[in-house]
């Protein structure tokens, strides 16, 4: 076999220009495919990072029914002790509690349905980069507004409450409208009771609005007139309205969020909804994102103060992102295959010409007793050696190119910004060097080359020595 290898290597060297051209073509195809796959991997990585760090986090915990129903009362405990306990779990880097509610925001004559999202800015900064979405004005304060403690009514006050209801019924029905003086007194008494049951904050809570929402409400976050009214329903079914102070705006890149999102401090929202110490969602950041599924499974077994909960990893929460990555990979695989199909035709041509040129020589070898199988092996060996040489060069160039793209990045900002699955892609595309990005083109190339070698090899093996020797 070693003599076959020697012969094959020598044969390649007989027409160096041709072998070199074909080999270079293969190397070029190989290295460019590697670089392209590297860019795709980089995009996938950015997409995952953008998704998890943008808002989702690596793992999320909810009330079991919350992800589907999103009812106000489907909450989890989220007291400081539990949050600390979560952070101490294996693999967990940070945890952030969140609360959501739907409400109605109005400013002057304009109004809009909104989603209130309560976050603790200190916790949230350790889990996601949501604070980087701040655009105009200021972001949320780390401290929530001060809210006095709510107290239930005493027996006397309850009697007073009932009396007020009776008086209101009597007055309303007999007069249609209560007498003004009594009305004022009753209103004052009732205000005191209501204040005790559901105290309002001593400072107007600050909020950050989606940029489009602020524009739709005609707000200028840096202007003077930055107070909006929110109308919402508490977990107890009470309709409440209160003033909110607009601090600034955010832009997430997701249209529906920018049109409806209102960020405020978690504790402010907890007080507003009468859900102190609770949360609808706890997002976790892990030390190793690839362990998300394992950590999620482990946390599912955590007691969580005895309450039912459901833990999901980002890939379960956002299957669309994984599907997008899979679709991209399939597309790139097809492209790589097409490139190598063309390269294979090049190899086929080279070997066919080479066989035709060496008809007499191959016939002589056969006449001297070289078996057809050995002849096939000889031609296949030539192709394989050519490919291996090209692969080595291609791998080196490809790795170099990918490394350069990983460090330098490909600036695509002049084509405008774009986003995938709601994640803003960086203006610079960065490749990600991975063994898969080399392996796929390598395997494709070897397979295609060997297939391309088959036809000329069989042709060579079927040469009739007597005819072949006479060929010019």
């Amino acid at each position: 076999m070693s003599s076959l290898q020697k012969m094959a290597w020598r044969n390649l060297g007989r027409n160096r220009k041709r072998s070199a051209t074909t080999g270079l073509g293969l190397a070029l195809a190989m290295s460019l495919c590697m670089a392209t796959l590297g860019i795709m991997e980089g995009l996938s990585r950015d997409l995952i990072r953008g998704t998890t760090e943008g808002e989702v986090g690596h793992v999320q915990i909810h009330h079991p029914a919350y992800p589907d129903a999103r009812q106000l009362r489907q909450t989890l405990p989220a007291g400081p002790a539990l949050m600390a306990q979560l952070q101490q779990q294996d693999g967990v880097q940070a945890a952030s509690a969140r609360m959501f509610a739907y409400a109605y925001l109005s400013h002057g004559s304009r109004s809009s349905g909104v989603q209130l999202m309560g976050i603790d800015p200190v916790q949230e900064r350790q889990v996601t980069t949501m604070h980087l979405q701040a655009r105009q004005g200021r972001y949320l304060d780390d401290e929530a507004s001060p809210w006095p403690q709510a107290r239930s009514l005493s027996v006397e006050q309850e009697a007073q409450d009932r009396a007020l209801t009776e008086a209101a019924i009597a007055a309303a029905f007999d007069e249609g409208k209560p007498a003004p003086l009594q009305e004022n007194e009753r209103a004052a008494r009732n205000a005191a009771l209501a204040e005790q049951l559901a105290p309002r904050p001593t400072r107007t809570p600050g909020v950050v609005l989606g940029a489009q929402l602020a524009a739709n409400l005609g707000l200028d976050p840096q202007g003077q007139d930055t107070e909006v009214q929110v109308l919402y329903e508490t977990s107890q079914g009470l309709q409440g309205s209160m003033a909110l102070h607009v601090r600034g705006t955010t832009r997430s890149g997701l249209d529906h969020q920018d049109r409806s999102r209102v960020l405020l401090h978690l504790q402010d929202l907890q007080h507003m909804l009468q859900l102190a110490g609770r949360a609808h969602e706890i997002a976790l950041r892990l030390h190793d994102p690839s362990q998300a599924d394992a950590v999620a499974a482990r946390l599912q077994a955590l007691p969580m103060e005895g309450e039912a909960h459901k833990v999901q990893s980002w890939s379960q929460l956002r299957p669309d992102v994984l599907a997008l990555i899979a679709a991209n990979r399939a597309l790139m695989g097809t492209l790589v295959f097409i490139v190598f199909l063309i390269a294979g035709v090049g190899v086929l041509n080279t070997m066919l010409v080479s066989i035709t040129e060496r008809q007499r020589e191959l016939s002589l070898l056969k006449a001297l007793g070289l078996s057809p199988l050995h002849l096939v092996l000889l031609v296949a060996m030539e192709t394989l050696l050519l490919c291996l040489a090209a692969c080595t060069l291609g791998l080196l160039v490809g790795a170099g190119l990918t490394a350069w793209l990983q460090i330098q990045g490909l600036d695509v900002s002049r084509f405008g910004s774009f986003s995938m699955s709601g994640v803003d892609m960086a203006p610079k595309l960065r490749a990600q060097l991975q063994w898969q990005t080399a392996l796929v083109p390598l395997a494709c190339m070897l397979l295609v080359s060997l297939l391309a070698a088959l036809v000329p090899a069989v042709l060579a093996a079927r040469l009739t020595p007597a005819t072949g020797l006479r060929a010019t």
């Binding site: 999103r70 004559s109 109004s111 909104v114 409450d161 007020l164 209101a168 019924i169 109308l231 309205s241």
Partner: protein, 283 residues
């Protein structure tokens, strides 16, 4: 419309819904629709009976004090409400003022035509809402948007079929004829229910008005079990004739949950001034 928007629409505007629900319960949203010409007199008579039953608890104008009890798996609550309605004009005015308990007292909601406004006594502010966003659950009760659309739907979007007319006695022992009417949505009608079963009583005296007894809502036309059931009870002889003083909406898909409305006082045909249905009336 994505799910977020749906959710937004659902929860943010529960007030708007609630207002309409109550408006339906006590006062008509609009004058009963005239039946299209050419329909048979039987159909017209059935439609007339349903309209009578629907408007039994409201005259041209009405004013009522009621207790609303909401029983849910996770809480129970009672509101005292004053509801005033004025249907003398096309606008269909309704004012709901919450009389108690403390946390709710003074909250008021006003509907004039399509304009719905909400008043919070603690902030002394009025918020105006568009009517485009209507959802399903009001104030944690079991009344839904579908119920509130009922009045319009029943007179416009359903076809009627009287299934039975049997002689029986009402809760006060008076002989009545109980009609069981099946309502099926007309083709392409934008309604939420696949079938509605309406039971009403018609007194034997000439000119006596029909009174509602029970309304069952089925999700699909061939369902045998209703999802919700609205029942009228506590038939009482009042100045304005016999009237059911209690309405109970049972959420049959959630066992044990219901919302009940008890009228303690009801008065018809009061000559309201225009002022009583303006934002000024809030204060």
């Amino acid at each position: 419309m994505n799910s977020l928007q749906r959710l937004l629409a659902r929860s943010a505007h529960s007030l708007a819904r609630g207002l309409r629900v109550l408006a339906c319960a006590i006062a008509p949203l609009a004058a009963p629709h005239a039946q299209a010409a050419g329909e048979s007199s039987d159909t017209q008579q059935t439609a007339q009976r349903i309209r009578e039953a629907e408007t039994a608890l409201r005259g041209k104008t009405s004013m009522g004090v009621m207790k609303m009890t909401i029983k849910r798996s996770d809480y129970e609550r009672t509101y005292d409400l004053l509801v005033m309605s004025d249907d003398r004009s096309d606008e269909g005015k309704v004012l709901i003022r919450m009389l108690g308990p403390a946390l709710w007292r003074g909250n008021a909601t006003l509907k004039v035509g399509d304009r719905i406004s909400f008043y919070d006594p603690r902030t002394r502010r009025t918020t105006v809402m568009g009517n485009s966003m209507l959802g399903d659950n009001w104030m944690g009760s079991h009344f839904t948007n579908d119920d509130l659309m009922r009045e319009t739907d029943l007179s416009r979007h359903y076809s009627y079929e009287v299934q039975a007319q049997e002689k029986t006695k009402d809760a006060l022992g008076q002989p009545v004829q109980r009609w069981r009417i099946q309502l099926l949505p007309k083709a392409g009608a934008p309604v939420a229910w696949g079938r509605v079963l309406y039971q009403l009583d018609v007194g034997e005296q000439p000119h006596s008005r029909a009174l509602p007894v029970q309304v069952d809502y089925f999700r699909r036309p061939d369902d045998t079990a209703p999802v919700r059931s609205l029942r009228y009870s506590q038939l009482t002889q009042t100045e304005a004739g016999r009237l059911p003083m209690r309405m109970t909406m049972l959420a049959l898909d959630k066992p044990g949950e219901y919302t009940q409305i008890d009228y303690s006082r009801l008065r018809f045909d009061k000559d309201f001034s225009a002022d009583e249905f303006s934002d000024r009336a809030f204060r």
